[in-house]
């Protein structure tokens, strides 16, 4: 169990993490989601006692991280795949970690086998691909057979087989009754693994909810209609008291009315339809809507092509958001890298 209360981190004027309060419970995979630069890694570093919080408190099973005398036995963490000395072999890297916590050396061989690095155990880490480095980091997290596991963007650099493997690993770890806390900036990834969701944006808590609730509340269903007589279609819908929104390429989007009803309405009015399709906004769109206000820089200045005509009703969670989605997140990321 990881408990955060009022956790805050300031770097000068900038508030990286702002008054975060939530609890990560055992037995389930908790997804930690946020745009790049939202403060996910900073939060994780504070949980591990690497960064000192400016305010607030974080406890691991009721204790501060610095009070843990055998931390690898309590909490295993993968922060950064390259947080190791490249000149050291995989085996020796894990051995020095094991020794610092009094873990027997036999355990090193076990975890190397678990992550599938046994063939390269005696190779120096600098020759490893990102995926192999990621696996070695995961081996380090599993070393102490801990009750709590924390992974920062674990699927980065893994091939499809590796991604499949890490998903199953996280689920099985949680099933054994462990606390699994995993960060990502990809909603699609989280939807496949996490049962609980903590969303942050600009360091603030945006949502702390179960995945099922998040899907129920945030996935908007609507119907896309397309007609050669667009103006008449709008008039008909307006006359029937149905609210509409502009879709991409002259399409019309209707909220809250089922497709059969709309089809029958069009038939009564003898209106030609080229498209009548029920749609569901993806979770990524829902996530983007949730964090839209928190993204520091919007995409407009960087990639004008990605911006659509005007703000659509329904808070901007309209279809065709893919371009906006990627671009909206590229903004802060690119700027931060440059800075």
């Amino acid at each position: 169990m990881i408990e955060l209360s009022g956790l805050t981190k300031r770097y000068g004027e900038r508030v990286a993490v702002n008054n975060l309060t939530f609890t990560v419970r055992p037995g389930i995979v908790t997804g930690f989601l946020g745009p790049n630069g939202a403060g996910k890694s900073t939060t994780m570093r504070m949980i591990l006692g690497l960064d000192r919080p400016s305010a607030g408190d974080v406890r691991i099973d009721g204790r501060h991280y610095a009070q843990l005398h055998d931390p690898l036995r309590q909490i295993g963490a993968l922060l950064d795949a390259k947080a190791m000395h490249g000149g050291r072999t995989a085996y020796n890297h894990l051995l020095c970690l094991a020794q610092s916590n009094g873990i027997p050396a036999s355990r090193v061989t076990e975890v190397l086998d678990t992550v599938g690095l046994t063939p390269v155990a005696r190779k120096r880490a600098k020759g490893f691909s990102l995926g192999m480095g990621q696996r070695l980091g995961i081996a380090g997290a599993l070393l102490g057979d801990p009750r709590i596991l924390m992974f920062d963007e674990p699927v980065n650099g893994l091939d499809p087989e590796g991604i499949h493997w890490i998903r199953n690993l996280m689920k099985s770890l949680a099933h054994q009754g462990r606390t699994v806390f995993v960060s990502s900036h990809l909603m699609s990834e989280m939807a496949l693994t996490a049962e609980h969701l903590v969303v942050i944006g600009q360091g603030r808590l945006m949502a702390d909810t179960s995945m099922a609730d998040f899907i129920r509340e945030n996935s908007r269903s609507y119907v896309t209609m397309r007609s050669p007589e667009r103006e008449r279609l709008l008039d008909v819908l307006h006359a029937a008291g149905i609210a509409v929104a502009d879709g991409p390429d002259g399409a019309v989007e209707v909220d809250g009315v089922a497709a059969p009803e709309l089809g029958e309405l069009a038939a009564r009015e003898r209106l030609v339809l080229h498209e009548l399709s029920p749609r569901q906004a993806s979770l990524e769109e829902a996530f983007m809507q949730l964090t839209a206000e928190s993204v520091e820089y919007h995409a407009h200045d960087g990639d004008p092509g990605a911006v659509r005509g005007g703000p659509a009703p329904g808070g901007g969670a309209t279809s065709g958001g893919e371009g906006q989605w990627g671009a909206g997140w590229g903004g802060p990321e690119q700027r931060r890298r440059k800075g």
Partner: protein, 278 residues
């Protein structure tokens, strides 16, 4: 699907039930940190190479000099004198190694893994100091002894003060090892390999070069003389009983001065370690 533990996955494990590891829990102590640091220091090539260069310099130059000298040289100086020339160069190796022991962790990001595994940061740093000092001291003491024994064997040496070479082994090794420890402390504070090595080269070289300029002005003469006496090469020579600049001190005050500076730097390293984010 492999599970990370050897124990079979319990089908009845309820979500929410706390997981308990089958590995017995042992509270950690300094011994664990020492074992870990020893593994770290021996498992990278740069350590091994740096120490090899050090031994090659001290023993290689030492044997050459010992071979080219005759017995009369050692009437009033210890047999280990030939090792002094190698040590002058070799001390740079120990300084570099001391710096790298800690800065390589900051450079690679390993430090985050280290402090995650051992949040008692002072224990990690203490283990680094102890392991490095023990290693540096042992390697330099053995190298100097080898040179002393070889010189005594090659040359027909008349009995005299030259036979008392034990002190030069003990204190000479201590001096160069302390320079390395100072490097480690500076590295821990600066967290940057190049910066820390440059700073340490300054510490060793500037007091050896500056006096040439300071001596010009009568007002600064006092400072210049102190620098001449206390700079690293001269201190080391004094400990071998053949100071280049003959002050009244016979090496021990210089050693104590270095010890003092090193202790201050070590204290600074510990103080900063707890305050800063990693």
């Amino acid at each position: 699907m492999t599970t990370p533990t050897q124990q079979p996955e319990q089908p009845g494990a309820l979500p929410g039930a706390m997981y308990t590891s089958p590995i017995p829990v042992r509270p950690t102590h300094l011994g664990h940190a020492l074992a870990s640091e020893w593994t770290k220091i021996r498992s990278v090539r740069s350590t091994v190479w740096t120490l090899c260069v050090f031994v090659a310099l001290v023993v290689g130059i030492g044997l050459l000099v010992g071979w080219k000298t005759s017995g009369e040289t050692y009437t009033d100086v210890p047999y280990t004198i030939p090792a002094l020339f190698g040590l002058m160069l070799g001390q740079i190796c120990l300084i570099t190694l001391g710096v790298l022991v800690v800065t390589s962790e900051y450079g690679t990001g390993m430090i985050r893994t280290t402090f995650t595994a051992a949040p008692q940061r002072h224990r990690v740093l203490a283990a680094k100091f102890l392991v490095f000092f023990a290693l540096a001291y042992t390697v330099s003491a053995v190298s100097i002894t080898v040179v002393g024994l070889a010189t005594a064997a090659i040359n027909e040496i008349p009995s005299g003060p030259g036979e008392n070479w034990g002190t030069s082994v003990l204190l000479g090794s201590l001096y160069v090892s302390l320079l390395g420890v100072l490097g480690l402390a500076v590295g821990s504070m600066l967290r940057h390999s190049a910066g820390a090595i440059t700073a340490m080269l300054g510490v060793v070289l500037v007091p050896a070069i500056m006096p040439a300029f300071l001596m010009i002005s009568p007002a600064l003469r006092g400072i210049g003389e102190t620098m001449l006496e206390y700079n690293a090469p001269n201190s080391l020579s004094a400990l071998f009983g053949t100071a280049m600049y003959d002050g009244q001190a016979g090496g021990v005050p210089q050693l104590l001065a270095l010890l003092g500076i090193t202790l201050v730097a070590v204290a600074g390293a510990f103080a900063l370690l707890e305050k800063r984010d990693v």
